[in-house]
């Protein structure tokens, strides 16, 4: 299964997160907006990793209160996984 994901985060500087979910692994993460270096770093580290593992590691990282761009990526991944597993 290959699925392109467009996610609109809430409550953080990043306006959009996109990535591909390929057989349960994450590829091509891109953040629109947010701290450029940090979000590029998160995207590079997430490349080719198992989606559940990324979501587990990133969930709950705080920045704007209990929220952050990595946390929003974890939510995007969880939602995509739920949709994928439901398909």
């Amino acid at each position: 299964m290959i699925k392109h994901v467009d996610f609109t985060p809430e409550g953080v500087c990043t306006q959009k997160i996109t990535f591909d979910l390929v057989d349960g692994y994450v590829h091509h993460v891109q953040f629109t907006g947010g701290c450029s270096g940090n979000t590029k770093g998160v995207a590079a580290l997430a490349e080719g990793l198992e989606a559940h593992e990324i979501a587990r590691r990133l969930k709950g990282i705080p920045c704007q209160g209990a929220n952050s761009c990595p946390h929003q990526l974890s939510l995007a991944i969880e939602r995509a996984l739920r949709e994928w597993e439901g398909e």
Partner: protein, 310 residues
């Protein structure tokens, strides 16, 4: 005497390059979402090639292992990719990577099947009213033309406003403009707490300019904005446009926030007209944007030029 527009600019004299009137839209953009939605992945029956996804377990001589899902050719995991080109599912490889000996078990090799952009494949999707690739391009331009034109307008807006002001003849009351400039300084002071420091950061080119030079650049910016406001106000008067209740409230709220005033103060001190400057400014910009959009057409492969506004 108060400031006014002596001669309105003729927008037809704006110099807008052909590429910004007839905007080329590439297939890469048009079919981006469609291709993403209809991309498939399946087992690679040949050897692994660029673009394929390879799932591996790599174990080094010390017993440390990692699982990786690698897209070949993307160079995210360059050392692994060199070993994996040409591999097959189930294969065991031995390689030196970054100075360590690795045993790599290839768990799967998968290839991506892209949607062919042919009339037949697009027709097979059964999208309403879409039988060919050209139909899809036309539908895309209809649906997204406005936002594409908006993006181009935002990019060229500073240049267009410069032209508008050059084509207009304005009578600027220096006293009125000085009060406007002071008002803008007061707003910055209210927002930032230190207007001079804020101007040095915004206009100082990293400390290369004096405060006096920064104030001068701020003043030039304000002169442009004030002139655009005059143009917008004249247009609104000509068109007999007044703000709606919601627009009025929004303008006053913004003014109160920027200047640290209450609505009651605005009303008592007769500042409503000043508060409505942002409405007039936006009205001028909106008219300029509408004029620009009236000129815009799009070009795409196999589709005759599509006007944004018919």
């Amino acid at each position: 005497m108060s400031s006014s527009v002596v001669r309105m600019p003729e927008l037809s004299k704006l110099d807008i390059p052909a590429k910004q009137r007839l905007i080329p839209v590439r297939d890469k953009q048009i079919f981006f979402d469609l291709r993403n939605q209809h991309r498939r992945i399946e087992d690679q029956t040949e050897t692994a090639a660029p673009g394929d996804y390879v799932l591996i377990d790599a174990v080094n001589s010390a017993g440390a292992s990692r699982t990786l899902h690698i897209e070949l050719g993307k160079r995210h995991f360059q050392a692994y990719e060199q070993v994996l080109f040409g591999c097959r599912t189930g294969q065991t490889l031995h390689a030196a990577i970054d100075g360590a000996e690795y045993t790599i078990q290839v768990r799967s090799v998968r290839k991506v099947i892209e949607l062919p952009l042919t009339d037949a494949s697009i027709a097979s999707l059964g999208l309403p009213g879409i039988a060919t690739a050209a139909d899809y391009r036309r539908a895309y331009l209809r649906e997204h033309g406005d936002e594409i034109a908006d993006r181009v307008f935002r990019a060229i807006q500073p240049r267009l406003t410069e032209q508008v002001l050059a084509l207009a003849e304005l009578s600027l009351d220096e006293g009125e403009f000085a009060r406007y400039n002071e008002g803008q300084r007061a707003m910055l002071q209210n927002i930032s707490g230190d207007v001079d420091a804020r101007l040095m950061r915004a206009y100082g080119d990293g400390g290369a300019r004096t405060l006096e030079e920064c104030c001068q650049r701020f003043r030039e910016d304000n002169r442009r904005t004030f002139s655009m406001y005059l143009w917008g106000r004249t247009l609104a008067e000509q068109d007999r446009v007044t703000p709606t209740e919601a627009e009025y409230r929004s303008a006053v709220e913004y003014y109160c926030l920027a200047f640290g005033k209450t609505e009651e103060q605005v009303s008592r001190e007769g500042l409503a007209e000043e508060a409505l400057r942002s409405f007039c400014l936006q009205y001028g910009i909106r008219r300029l944007r509408d004029y620009y959009k009236s000129l815009v057409s799009f070009s795409a492969v196999g589709v005759p030029s599509q006007p944004l506004k018919s």
